[in-house]
């Protein structure tokens, strides 16, 4: 029952978004191109909570638009990137960060490239150490052939 409701809920929120209204209002952009670029970079790290797998910069959801505005206000007020992201995390949790923080929970995640390489190297090292069956001794016929070849 609850799942049903959750689905209806999700559906209704997501539907208008799926129309891919890929445009934003130019009025919401910051005048200073350097600040605007910074705001965009921050926005790309923040996950839209309605459409979920897009950043708030890409999303056309109403909430994403509001959050874009919030980011721009904070950028204009001269806040650091870290402060703005912390502001978002305080409200929406780590869910909002598309780049997960480095903390005990994500150690394995961030270490995954190194772990994968080390694992691969270990497997190779193990395989190289494997004893290979010694080459088969030559059969009598082969020996004779070899002898002929060497003589000629």
């Amino acid at each position: 029952m609850r799942v049903m409701h959750a689905l209806i809920f999700a559906f209704l929120l997501v539907l208008p978004v799926a129309a891919a209204w890929a445009i934003s209002d130019p009025a919401e952009m910051l005048k200073d191109p350097r600040q605007e670029a910074r705001a965009e970079a921050i926005g790309r790290q923040l996950r839209c909570l309605v459409c979920q797998n897009e950043s708030i910069e890409d999303s056309q959801a109403d909430l994403a638009r509001d959050l874009r505005q919030v980011v721009r206000q904070h950028v204009a007020a001269g806040e650091k990137d870290q402060q703005i992201i912390a502001w978002m995390v305080a409200r929406y949790g780590n869910f909002v960060r598309l780049r997960p923080p480095f903390e005990p929970l994500t150690w394995v995640l961030w270490a995954s490239p190194v772990l994968a390489l080390v694992g691969g190297a270990l497997v190779v090292a193990f395989a190289m150490r494997q004893k290979r069956p010694p080459p088969q001794p030559l059969s009598a016929a082969e020996k004779r052939k070899l002898g002929d070849l060497l003589k000629s």
Partner: protein, 654 residues
Amino acid sequence: MIPELGHFALALAVVLAGSQAVLPLWGAERRDPALMASAPPLAIGQFLALALAFGALVWSSVVSDFSVLNVAENSQSLKPLLYKITGAWGDHEGSILLWCLILAICGAAVGIFGGALPAALRARVIGVLGATSAGFVLFSLTVSNPFVRLWPAPMEGRGMNPLLEDPGLAFHPPILYAGYVGFAIPFAFALAALIEGRVDAAWGRWVRPWALAAWAFLTGGIALGSWWSYYVLGWGGYWFWDPVENASLLPWLAGTALLHSAIVVEKREALKIWTVLLAIGTFSLSLCGTFLVRSGILNSVHAFANDPARGVFILVLLALVIGTALGLFAWRAPRLMPTGVFAPLSREGALVVNNILLCAIAAVVFTGTTYPLFAQLLAGAQISVGAPFFNATVLPLAIPLFAAMVVGPMLSWKRAQLAPALLRLWWVALAALLVGLISAWGWAALPALGFAGAAWLVLGAFAPIVERARLFRLPLGASWVRLSGVPLAAWGGVIAHAGLGLTTAGLSGMALAEHRIVAVHPGETVAVGGYDWTLLGLRDAPGPNYTARLAEIRVARDGRTVAILTPGRRSYPLQRTTTTETAIRTNLARDLYAVLGEEHDGTAVLRLHVNPLAPWIWLGALVMALGGGLSLADRRLRIGAPLRRGAAARAASA
């Protein structure tokens, strides 16, 4: 009547698939030639039954038979004919049937083209394919039946998601599935080898063309999907590291590793166990890719109808297929003893490095995609892993991969020396350095690195050929003679590697893209990326099942008109949705890209992009797939010819 015929054909396919699983495997075990010989006709029969079922579904969709639930939910009478046909696989049930059909085609293909395979091996391969097929056709028949009737039949269907009414997306699923499912054949070969307890050079040679064909399709399918999101979604993005995209990338990475390790099996009889594992792993990842994204567990932008009950069925099916395969692997693989002698510094050594790096990238993508799930499951914590993570972790692994891709082919088999190989690459390195330095002039560091990498890959891909032909060291005529002796398979590799270079160039170019969002009155001009964009006017245009609003934009450079773009917006009254129609004009060096947004107070909001080298991303992928196709055309690799020789050798040795 026609849907019932399809329904019946589907049931028949289950029976045939079941027989295809049991009889040949049993026959191979008992060495019964008659039972083993039953494999090809059964596989072809299963294919015919599924083709009939699929034809019935397409027919119902084309004639708009809304008494079929599936058609009523996804079609409408006004839909253009093309989308009525392609709409048959636009939803869950239809796409599963398509998936089964392609798997049956794989079985039939082995039956038809595998005439030169040893009878027992062929029977086992077809048997394994039949067993896999039986499970999925049963899934289609029982919980995902596309032929369920609806009574009373509605007068009009609900229509399909307008975003899917697009030629790119219409043909995306068949090509992508051909890639996913094509890896079932290497998978079946791996299982057959485990059952027989034997992997040799001939096996490597038999597996490779199938893997190559599947890989070429998968490359094309991924590229088509990415291109679709570029021109349909309308914000200039082409890859989002979404779970659905990652799900297609994972088998691609594993499959690429498989292609390369199969070469080592063929040439050196080494890496056997590893290649068998990769063949199992690639298809397993394909299965997870097609099915787990549909279970609704993964949080994706792409909406599938989520149904946990169906999810459990799928999971059980996957457990049976993958669990059996890996169980067999754990049990029988220890028998496959390594034979080839192995020096770390050699062509095969470079291929091992390539495999480690490709699999490491796959491991990172897999970890990143599933980590939020397991964080939730084990720690109850919610985290997100998105594009910034993947970009930061995959790039450092791609750099050594790019290096190995060029250096590896310069090394000789068995034992090689690094220094001479590197020395022979001096001109490639120099060119890459120059390209990097020139593009670093005024641009950001990362695109410059990308352009250098692209130059390194493209030129480096041709280095082995240049070396072989002794170009500029022998008279041109002599070089030409040597060049014509280069086998097609070698050219295929060169072209595929160069294709990745082109894609890299495209990706780097996109990093320099410029865009602006503006609100303009008709007649107004704005400057973006060195072009002057003038909104000429706005008008309405009717369509078959939508109404469109079009903007006409003139793009000019130095006063000369370069292009007239007409981006639009379509509203579909039935589905009550609106889609954007992006206008793109390309000259290969850059894309002019315009999207029409909302209109208010006489102004229209426009999103205007200049995307340098954008088409190269997909062009490069196409070149990669072409390289795969070229390798397939090589006589030595062609499925029939070498097999006969292999079979003859085997018969002689027996």
